[in-house]
Amino acid sequence: MSSLAVRKTAPAAGTTPGTVQGPPLRRRIALVPTLTLLLGALYCLLPVAWVVIAATKSGSELFSTFTFLPGTGFAENLSDLSAYRDGVYWQWMGNSALYAGVGALLSTAVSAISGYALAIYRFRGREAVFSVLMAGVLMPPVILAIPQYLLLAKADLADTYWSVLLPLVLSPYGVYLSRIYAAAAVPADVVEAGRMDGAGEWRIFTRIALPMMVPGLVTVFLFQFVAVWNNFLLPYIMLSDDEKFPITLGLFTLLEQGSNTPALYTLVITGALLAVLPLIALFLVIQRFWSLDLLSGAVKS
């Protein structure tokens, strides 16, 4: 598909290096990166643009009108979706918000305290603990999810909210990021000054270090929120009661049924649009005071 998008706009890109006489050298060079980036953006926005338009089409329009022509059925699709099985779709959305919100909050708390401990203190076994926790990153989710299910089933916790929440609380990547942020943001002499003033270690962490770590912790929260919101394998394995499904799993079951009844296609498409809006809105809002670069552990100087 990407090659097609490239081909459509390729003539424009192809002509730019040829325009030798016109603009000065430096401006001419900047055209190639700009156009390449625009092509990349076009490729990435295309499916999103498609779903925005497709969601406005009624069932018959979906197959009869040109794909990028808006339809007339958005309100109807929305009410159909809300009416589907007594509003189970909104239940899924609520579940996803719960899993991702609570899960990311717990995960950020555990990451913050672990990252702080690993960054600030020198103690026997520090690097060993860090390495073992990091090894968790390398563990493929598959080798974890199935035995996690079997073990949780033994504890009567399978097919509960806990079964999707708890396995994701410890995030090795979150601990890693928190350690980097704590090392960069919390100076050792500030901690030492707190001790001089007679503050306990817990007090120093919560009152002094934690506020300093906030920008980094926002990143950990976002990262984990997205990871849980987008997770499919774990709820797919853990849950059988569809009242507890997150949105990813709910949409999947809707699509599975929809493959036999094309009337459900419009519901799937409208549901897919609504499922991506919260995260996109979150990123658009948050990027005003938060930089994407933080996601890869960049520390602002």
């Binding site: 609380v169 499919f232 797919y236 949409l251």
Partner: protein, 311 residues
């Protein structure tokens, strides 16, 4: 120092107390399941009599029997080959695109960089299931704009949901979803390069392309290695995308990837011991491939460094 000594007990105990939650969670949700999976993979169910009543089904030591079964299962091996082929497309294309786009973002006088950066990153916020679903519809000739255009132009319409086209279709979903995140990782390390490093090259009249190839790419090599490493791990575990495409086409079987096969074994057939062996094999294979790559990359780096030193 003296005050730290005075409270040495609290200071000494604090890191252990602070690491307690992570340690407990690691033990419960990482170490224990892995141990259990390995234990399961080495056992099997023995049925006495008709298999009814308590005690009729007991778990007995199976040695490497489950592993032998998994490794001689042609469906499992075919799945491994399919995923390998898929990974050979996804990882180089995704990271190649991510590198090119990151270099473009980092170049002088580029326009619209904040907008394009956010747009290219956007798919990261789209769940894999939804991404597969969106592209799945775009692959359906009845609703896809591409097929509409091809039709109008009188060009042949490829079948993207069958045969070789399926690999392109699945790879495209992964590339679409993963390029933005990797681009940000590479771009971040590009920006960490001090500008003095290429000032001299610029004065010598090096073109942006030369600067990119000779200076920028070698300097971000560590983050390239890291993105490769994690992409390999993620790619070999592919599950949600083919599972989501399955309702749209008959050519994705329920056992298309080894991971899907493990799922069917565990929950379709109820053979948890065989499934555990399959999961362990996938995990080991993933680690062997990813660490093999890391080792190869490191030894190459070292060789480059020593060559540079010799010069």
């Amino acid at each position: 120092m003296t005050s730290a000594r005075r409270k040495s007990y609290g200071v000494k105990g604090a890191p252990y107390a602070f690491l307690l939650p992570a340690t407990i969670l690691f033990a419960l949700f990482f170490a224990l399941p892995i141990g259990y999976a390995i234990w399961l993979s080495l056992h099997k169910v023995q049925v006495k009599g008709l298999g009814l009543g308590s005690g009729a089904r007991t778990e007995v030591w199976a040695g490497l029997e489950n592993y032998a079964d998994a490794l001689s299962d042609s469906e499992f091996l075919d799945g491994a080959l399919r995923v390998l082929a898929y990974g050979m497309i996804v990882v180089p294309v995704m990271l190649g695109l991510a590198l090119v786009l990151a270099l473009m973002l980092d170049s002088d006088k580029v326009r619209l960089a904040p907008f394009t950066r956010l747009a290219i990153f956007l798919p990261y916020a789209v769940p894999g299931v939804v991404a597969a679903l969106l592209w799945g519809f775009l692959y359906l000739p009845d609703v896809s704009p591409f097929f509409f255009v091809l039709d109008r132009l009188g060009l042949p319409q490829p079948d993207l949901l069958d045969g070789g086209g399926l690999y392109v279709a699945l790879s495209n979903i992964a590339v679409w979803g993963g390029t933005g995140f990797n681009m940000i990782v590479i771009y971040t390390s590009l920006r960490a390069i001090p500008t003095e490093v290429y000032e001299a090259a610029k004065l010598d009249g090096a073109t942006p392309l030369q600067i990119a190839l000779r200076i920028k790419i070698p300097m971000v090599a560590p983050s390239l290695v890291l993105t490769f490493f994690f992409s390999i791990i993620a790619t070999l575990q592919v599950f949600s995308e083919p599972t989501t495409l399955k309702p749209l086409t008959n050519s994705v079987s329920t056992t298309w990837s080894p991971l899907m096969k493990v799922y069917v074994d565990a929950f379709g057939k109820g053979d948890i011991h065989g499934a555990a062996a399959g999961a362990v094999v996938i995990a080991l294979a993933t680690l062997v491939v990813s660490f093999g790559f890391l080792r190869a990359a490191n030894s190459r780096n070292k060789r480059d460094v020593s060559q540079g030193a010799a010069r």
